[in-house]
Symmetry: C2
Subunit: 229 residues, 2 copies
DNA sequence: ACGTTATTGTGAGCAGTGCTCACAATAACG
DNA sequence: CGTTATTGTGAGCACTGCTCACAATAACGT
């Protein structure tokens, strides 16, 4: 019954990942050491390679898990709100993003930090990597259907309409360009703000970054998405 | 006359940094190797430590240079515009940010990527790290003085006004909170967008990221900063 | 139930890393 | 011109990722 070994494999893989996360949180991904993990597990360092092809592959698997975790978090926050309460949903997901990031700073850093040059995400990492964004996209669609109109101007730049046709198709949605532009702008602002905070670029600026962040989310919801209530 | 040695020191330091940048661009900061640099320079690896206390210190010096470079770039772009042409100045600095980042992706990644956990920026790195943001702040002040009004709403959250008093004081400016909030939002959005693009999070979304970026800058200038022309 | 096969763990070993240190050469300075 | 401080050297330490031949053993087919 393909049992004892498969079970052990699961446990050991999980323990390796757990210890890897601990190390990354305290020393950074660059200083993650498979040998140290092996030592902590009282195993030979070479045994690690029975579970992960390489250090990089371990990191990749952690990244995929992180994508799933942040998506879970945002989806859950969104799901708690009444479907037609667009404004609350936006605020909930914005807050959940930052909350997750603050609770798991090194996990956030692993996802949204500098990748290795030339790094091509393995095919099975791209789907999880889109989940968290899909939550936003569903919100935009719902907002549009509910009659909200993004109060932004499409710029007169040639090529914009064409580009956004591609974007809509790539994202598998169909929205007014205004709404999509507003949504992507708000999205970029939230992640920009979180990265600034987590990566230490505004330490000397804010006393309570959360206050600013909430104001940002509120203001962008009103001003860009047009979901003022 | 304290000559031959001081001159050599400058040259060698510069060459080390140059080779370090090449390595970082091709293999990432995590894989930067002092020994490899020494090999390329036909020197003993221990000689590197006559010029830099450690690998981390080399990286820190590169970061400071990068801060200076991006600030130079933004300042120069801004300086090319008529002082009273707020809108052009905003667009010029937004574009120059992305242009610089695309031209020096690994340098951008070094600055805005995940820092080592617990990393405390050495005192002499914090000033250069503010220069590029000061360009934005000066623009906001000029816009305010010129009579532009940010068309955004301050959220009714308790604590916001107090927080923003601190922010204004920390940044050494005095602006309507609306303008400051709008400015920081736009700033976060631009950096969020650039990081998304450079770190590979929107590869499957955009065909011409630049088109979207310009639209973003244009739209945020109009919609948030109120500098529609 | 038994023999074959595939999986797991081992320890030695290779090539690489950052960094230190005693030492020699030499430019800079009083 | 002699002393001092700076620069470069090579050996060496402790560490890393990763490979490989080998032994133990769970899983599977007959």
């Amino acid at each position: 019954m393909t049992g004892i070994r498969a079970a052990a494999r699961k446990e050991i893989s999980a323990e390796i990942k757990r210890l890897a996360r601990v190390q990354i949180a305290s020393k950074g991904a660059a200083n993650l050491s498979l040998r140290e993990i092996a030592r902590e597990m009282q195993m030979a360092s070479s045994a690690m390679y029975r579970y992960f092809d390489s250090r990089d592959q371990l990191l990749t698997e952690l990244i995929v898990e992180n994508y799933d975790n942040i998506a879970d978090s945002v989806e859950k926050a969104d799901a708690k709100c009444a479907r037609d309460d667009i404004r609350s949903r936006w605020m909930a997901m914005a807050e959940s993003l930052r909350t997750w990031a603050l609770r798991h700073p090194s996990d956030y850093g692993l996802i949204f930090g500098t990748p290795v040059p030339g790094y091509a995400a393995p095919p099975d990492t791209v789907d999880p990597g889109r989940r968290y964004t899909n939550v936003l996209l569903r919100l935009l669609v719902d907002a549009h259907v509910a009659g909200y109109v993004a109060t932004v101007d499409i710029p007169p730049a040639k090529g914009f309409v064409k580009e956004y046709k591609h974007v809509q198709s790539n994202l598998g949605i169909s929205l007014p360009d205004e709404m999509l532009l507003a949504g992507l702008a708000a999205w970029a602002a939230m992640f920009g703000a979180i990265s600034f905070e987590l990566f230490g670029h505004v330490d000397q600026v804010f006393v309570n970054p959360g206050t600013h962040y909430s104001a940002l989310a509120h203001m962008l919801g009103e001003q860009l998405l047009g979901i003022s209530n």
